[in-house]
Symmetry: C2
Subunit: 353 residues, 2 copies
């Protein structure tokens, strides 16, 4: 029987609650599909600060590098917001992404037909939406130097090099080939030099993919078009901070940020995590939506472990559960039949599996 | 009889069409309210490049500085996108903003009850929305140096100083005092040093406004919250590029980017313009929505000329026209009774006045 080594980072806030449900679901499909998973837990974020004094202990990096894939919850919370920047949870996360070399962050935004009424957008606007946002994750203004804050003046640097753009561009074009063959590259080339290089490089790269259509859109317009007519998009490729903003916008198209999974991939171990944060305001209340994490686990099965059947089973179970009207609180505004808490949602998915 | 000197910049694309309608409406209310307006036209953007060789002729700056207020359409178009950066329409606009010292860009997003069905968002989500976005306009990554693109590596600098943040913060707090007394400052302080200075400075400034509530939100979350629950916002204050993205998102809440006006103010002449662009794809077709420009003209009457009665008349006429089911094409998706072209929309507003 195949065994996979999964590294687990639960993190802060609702992190532990939602990751526990995903593990429950993973175990259920492993049993059905005849493979086994062994988990090893590592610390990152606020809990790592409290326990070890730093937001990203060396053991975490090493442990994840030695695993087949990493399932991650979320980090951060007000408690640590006043620490010096190098000791904050977010700094640990960014360093983690960098050390893992996960330059490509894939954030699919797919509408479940069962949830077409859960969004604040009209059903006819969102029905059938299937967008893949490809966000560059270890460059741009998140990592650019110099960066400084002397209390009077502060600055950051948004920087990209051609190889960085080519690398993420290739990911987008390759993904588009397996989908509707359309890439929309988002930038602010009418204002920013760094966006001009981004655009020129994408245009050059497009020559290698004559079967894929490349278009460009300014980031302000893209934010608007995601709300106006999200169905127009297939693959969106963009830089780190624009991707951060646009994928959160896309989550609303889909109905709740509690639904969107992500995969962060590079040349080493891939990381799977919900796109939402640690939601300290609802931590410990047992009402968090574990679905984004559970779908992230399904992505992990599909992309890192090649266990497609197991991934399918999870996705089918989620659809069935939603179809039967089960909702977590975040999704309950418009059409819930039964509102479940975090654990109940995990349990019922296991039942349906 | 009072006479006001208005500088007019029509610009490119649909610019001339929409500004012409606004002038028509301005003349109608001037007549009713017993003041007169004299207009002088100046060049900027693509048309300035074609006519004078540069996107911002010196006469434009001088002329606008010598006027009581400036009404501006929009600039830009593919035709000029391949010119060297210093010769592009957008470069002219940015230089114009800088020379005018218009650091505060006010972008109100108000739902007309009459248009509550025109948005892609559900009516119950948007009914009653009344947001004022205060965007810093002459700093941040738009103007930060160093900036460079050598074809292999390119970068821009997102920079703010404390006085720049205080200045725009004051604008936001003062506006909030006349509204619901709540300011939400949007940044990315969990990642960016420049945002940390922004946040710290806003917190300090808030002490001078104990009657106004200050909250902070990360930009990714703000983009999402604008779609999830736009009614939660009163005044939003943010930096240049975040404001660019968020105000376009807000325009969809309101139903169409063809509706949102803006005022750019500083210590010199204020500029009034729609937040939308020059829309080259529909230029000359006579279908552009002139309402954002007409509402901008109303803002000009109110804020620069203190002609409140005239401003009220325009706003009332627009509401009545919308109530009677008149729509331009961009608004026609959900509930139009009669679809008008650009000139017809201007005409009917004059009729109602
Ligand atoms: C927590 C934060 C640093 C992070 C980011 O901005 O990348 C988060 O918003 C995300 O999108 O994963
Ligand atoms: C045309 C462009 C330079 C401009 C901007 O980004 O400021 C526009 O999008 C706006 O919002 O006024």
């Amino acid at each position: 029987m195949k065994n996979y080594k999964i590294s687990i980072i639960k993190g802060d806030g609702i992190g532990p609650e939602i990751v526990d449900e995903a593990i429950k679901v993973l175990n259920a499909v492993a049993k059905k599909c005849d493979f086994s998973l062994s988990y090893k837990e590592y610390l990152m974020g606020g809990i790592a600060i409290d326990t070890t004094g730093v937001p990203l202990p060396a053991e975490t990096v090493e442990g994840v590098l030695n695993s087949d894939a990493c399932l991650f919850g979320a980090i951060g919370g007000e408690k640590w917001d006043t620490l010096p920047r190098e000791l904050r949870p977010e700094t640990g996360l960014l360093k983690f992404r960098e050390e893992m070399g996960v330059y490509a962050n894939l954030r699919p935004a797919i509408i479940y037909d069962e949830l077409v009424n859960a969004s604040t957008l009209k059903p006819e606007v969102i029905k059938g939406v299937d967008i893949m946002i490809v966000r560059e994750l270890i460059g741009g203004i998140y990592f650019g130097k110099p960066r400084e804050n002397d209390g009077f003046k502060a600055f950051n640097t948004m920087v990209y090099t051609k190889p960085e753009i080519v690398r993420i561009g290739k990911t987008a074009f390759e993904l588009a080939r397996k989908r509707d063959k359309r890439v929309c590259s988002v930038d602010k080339a009418n204002v920013l030099e760094v966006s001009q290089l981004w655009r020129d490089t994408m245009n050059e790269l497009a020559k290698d993919y004559p079967d894929v259509e490349l278009t460009h859109m300014y980031v302000d317009n893209a934010a608007m078009q995601l709300v106006r007519n999200p169905k127009q998009f297939d693959v969106i490729v963009t830089g780190n901070i624009f991707g951060d903003i646009l994928s959160d916008t896309a989550s609303m198209v889909v109905g709740s940020i509690g639904l969107l999974p992500s995969a962060s991939t590079g040349d080493k171990t891939a990381i799977y995590e919900p796109i939402h944060g640690s939601a300290p305001d609802i931590a410990g209340m047992g009402i968090a939506n574990p679905l984004a994490t559970i779908v992230s686990a399904a992505m992990m099965l599909r992309y890192s472990l090649n266990e497609d059947k197991a991934a399918d089973m999870i996705e089918e179970a989620i659809k069935a559960v939603l179809k039967d009207g089960y909702r977590t609180k975040d999704l309950a505004a418009f059409d819930a039949k039964k509102v479940l808490n975090t654990v109940q949602m995990g349990d019922i998915i296991v039942d349906y599996i």
